[in-house]
Amino acid sequence: MSTENDPMAEIRASFFVECEELLEALQDSLQIMDDGAEDSETINVVFRAVHSIKGGAGAFGLDALVRFAHRYETVMDEVRTGRMEADADALKVFFQCADHLSDLVRHSRDGGADPAEQSNTLLTRLNALMGEEGGPTESEPEPEIEFQPMGLALDLAPLNDGSLDDLLDLDALPPLGDLPDLPPLALNAPKTYTLHFAPEQELFETGNEPYLLLRALHELGTAQVTCDTSRLPPQQSLTPEQPYLSWTIELETEAEEAEILSVFEFVDGLCTLKLTSGDSDDMPSDLPQMLPADQTTPTSTPEPPTAIEPAPSPAPQPAAPAAPPKTQPPSAAAAVKSVVRVDLDRIERLVNLVGELVINQAMLSQSLEDANLPPHGDAISGLEEFQRLTRDIQDSVMMIRAQPVKSLFQRMSRIIREASAAVDKDVRLHTEGEATEVDKTVIERLADPLTHMIRNAVDHGLEKPADRIAAGKPPEGQVKLTAAHRSGRVIIEVSDDGAGINRPRVLQIAIDKGLIPADSQLSDSEIDNLLFLPGFSTASTVSDLSGRGVGMDVVRTAIQALGGRIAITSIPGEGTSFSISLPLTLAVLDGMVIDTAGETLVVPLNLVVETLTFAASEVSMIRPGQHVVRVRGAFVPVVDLGAELGYRAPLTDFEGAVALLIVHENGSRAALMIDNILDQRQVVIKGLDDGFFRAAGIAAATILGDGQIALILDPSDIITNAAQHPQEPLQAGVSA
C-alpha cells in the first residue's frame, strides 16, 4: 500500500477498521446485557459504538448507514437514560440491529448485496419499541447535517498568506451531505449597521474573547469601534473577572444581518447585543435584541449573571454523565494497550525473512559442526547463542499475526442466532477462551468450517424443544465453543448437548450410498467418522442451512489444509463434540524428517499416528502391487513411498521395513513405507511455485540445515493415488 495515497482514502480505510472494533464492542456489550451481567457502563459502550459509527459514516456520506445508525442510536439513548428498559424482546431487536449495522458497514466498505431492505424492517421494530407505529416515516427527523455559518468573510485579510489554499482544494474535502443553504453572501451595496456589545462574565468564563469577536467584525467590512469605559472602577477595586467594558461598533459591510450576528453565535446569551441598521445616531436606546428567527438560541435567557463564582462549575445538568472515572468492569476496555497498526504486507515480508533467517542459521550451524571446531570454544558457544536468539525471534514473529479468536467467536454467535431462528429452536452459545491467540490467516480460514459445524449442530445435533423436554433436557439447546493453547497447538472444540450421532442411521446411509460395503462391521468411533466421507449428508430434506451438499469432508479437508486434525466424539442422547487441533501458525510445520530412496522428505507430524517396523509375516499381498499389513488385528494398506514417488521400483522384501502409520483424509489408515526416520522437528514451509508443474503427493518444500531442499509430503494425496493405481514397476517419465 503506498503512503502517497489520498489521505481521505487512508482515513476512510482506517474508519472501517475502527468500525470493526466498535461493532465488536457493541456485540460484546449486548451479550453482557443478555447475560444479565451488565453495569452502568455497558449501555454506554453500546451507545458510543453506534454513535461513533454514525459520526464517521456522516463524514464519508454513507447515508443509508447514517440513517439506520441514527435511529438505533436514538433508541439506545432511551435505554441509557433509563427511559426504556432493555428486556429480552428488546435485546433480540438490538442484536438484530447490531448485525444489520455490521452488514451496512460491510456493504459500505465492500459493495455487494445491498442490505438496505432489511433496514426498513428493523426500523419498524425499533419504532415499535419506542411505542411508535409503523415504519420509517417522512416525519422522522433526519440527522441534521448542519453547518454553522461562521461569518463567511470574503475578505480574509490576515489570512491571505495562502495557508488556506489547501483547504479550498475541493478534492480534499470529504463528500458533504446535503448542503444546507448558507446565508446569502451579500453582494449588495454596503450598508451601515450599529452594534452595541456588552459582554457578561459568563462570556469570559467560557473562554470567549471579545477581541476576537471584534476582529471578526473587522473582517466583514469597515468598522469603527468605540469602547465605553465608563463603568470601569478605580484600579484598586477592579476585579478582573467582572466585565466593565462595552463597545459600540459602526460597521459598513455588504454582509447581511444574519452574517453579522453569526459572529456572536457562541456568545449569544452571554452578552448584551443590539444590532440596528443605520449609524449610531439612529440607534434607539433600548431596542430588544434582534436575532433572526433561525438562529438557535440557548434555553438560558440573557440575564445578568447570578451567583457565578470565578471558577465556574457547571450548573446542575439533567442526567449528568458520571465524570469521575469508576473502576471499569473487566469486560469494558481493558487497560488501554499501546498498539501500532501495521500493513499486512510488511508482516508477510517479515515472516518470510525470519523464515530465511532460520534456514540460514541452520545451515550455518551445520557448517560449523562439520568444521569440527572445539566444542567449548567461542565459535560454538556463539553459535548456541545465535540459535537461541533465532528461535526467540521466530517465536515472536510467528505470533505477530496472532489475534484473539474472539472476532471469530462473535461471528459464530451471529450464525447461531440466524440458524436457530431459521429452524425455530432456542439455542444458547457458550464460549470460552476467546482471548486465545491464533494466526490471523488461520482464523480467516477457520470461519467457513466453523460456520458449517455450528449450523450442523443447530440443524442436526440439537433436538426440537418438544423432543428435548421429552428427554428431560431444558428446551434451550446449548452449543459450546472453546479455544485453548495446548502443547504448542491450538485446540478448538465445538460441542452440543443434543441427541448425539444416530449411529444405526449413519451406518445405513453410508451403506445405501455405497460408501462402505453392506456387511461392514464398524466400531462406534469408525461409524462417527463416516460423517467425514465425501458425499455423506444425513439431511433427508434440504433444510435452510445444511444439506446443501457441503459435507463434513469439506470441513476436514479445510482443517487438514491448515495442518490440523479434527476428531469427533459422540454420546447418544447427550451430544456430539468436534475437537480441532491446529498449529499456531501456518508458516512452520511440525514434521518428521525421513529418507526414502536416497531422498530426504518431510511428513507432517499431525498426520502420523505411530511408527511401525514390519515383520515379513505380518504383510500379505492382495494382488501384485497391493499389500496390507496387520496392525493390532486390523489390516492396513501398505504404500511404498519410494515407488509411489517414482524414485525406484517397488520393494519386495518387507522384513524390518520401517513405516509410518498415517491417518488418511477419510479417517482410514495406511502404512507409508519409508527407508529411515531421521529426525522430528519444526520446519519452515516454503511454497512450491505452481506455475509450471504441480507435483502430485507434494504439499510444499523446506530447506534443511545442509541447504538441501526436502519436499514436504501430502500423505493423503499419495495414499489416494496408490489406491487408484496399484503399483506398476517404475513409472514412465521419472526425471533423470
Binding site: 459572529v263 434555553t299 470565578p310 488501554v336
Partner: protein
C-alpha cells in the same frame, strides 16, 4: 507562530479528520482518545485551544471540560465541542460546562478552521 490544538475524541477516524483539516491551516494538532487521556496530554502541551467530543469512555466531554476549566491557567482556554446534533439543549449544556463554542459533525474542514480562528485567534 502556530497554535497548539488539543483534539480529544475516542474515534480514531475523527482524530484523523481533525488533523487533516487543521494541519494544512498551520495548526499543531495533538490528540487524546478520551477525557482522562486528554488531561494528561493537557499538562504536557499547554494547548492554545481544545476541541473535544462529548461521548467518550472513562471521562466524557463534559467531565473533561470541567476538569480543564478547573485548572487556573485554562480558565479561559477556548474549547470547542464536537456534537452530532445542533440541538439547543446540547449547546446549552456545553456552554454550562464551560465550552466556548461548538462544531457539528460531520464538519466542514474550512468551518472548523474558521471556528478555531474565531475563538483562538
Amino acid at each position: 507562530m502556530s497554535l497548539n490544538i488539543l483534539a480529544v475524541d475516542d474515534s480514531r477516524t475523527m482524530r484523523d479528520m481533525i488533523r487533516l483539516a487543521l494541519q494544512p491551516a498551520g495548526f499543531n494538532v495533538h490528540t487524546a482518545d478520551d477525557g482522562l487521556h486528554g488531561i494528561d496530554v493537557l499538562d504536557v502541551i499547554e494547548p492554545d485551544a481544545i476541541i473535544t467530543d462529548i461521548n467518550m469512555p472513562r471521562m466524557d466531554g463534559f467531565g473533561f471540560i470541567d476538569a480543564v476549566r478547573g485548572q487556573e491557567k485554562h480558565r479561559a482556554t477556548p474549547i470547542l465541542v464536537l456534537t452530532t446534533e445542533a440541538a439547543p439543549e446540547l449547546k446549552a449544556r456545553a456552554r454550562e460546562a464551560g465550552a466556548t463554542g461548538w462544531i457539528v459533525k460531520p464538519f466542514d474542514p474550512a468551518k472548523l478552521v474558521k471556528a478555531l480562528q474565531m475563538v483562538a485567534g
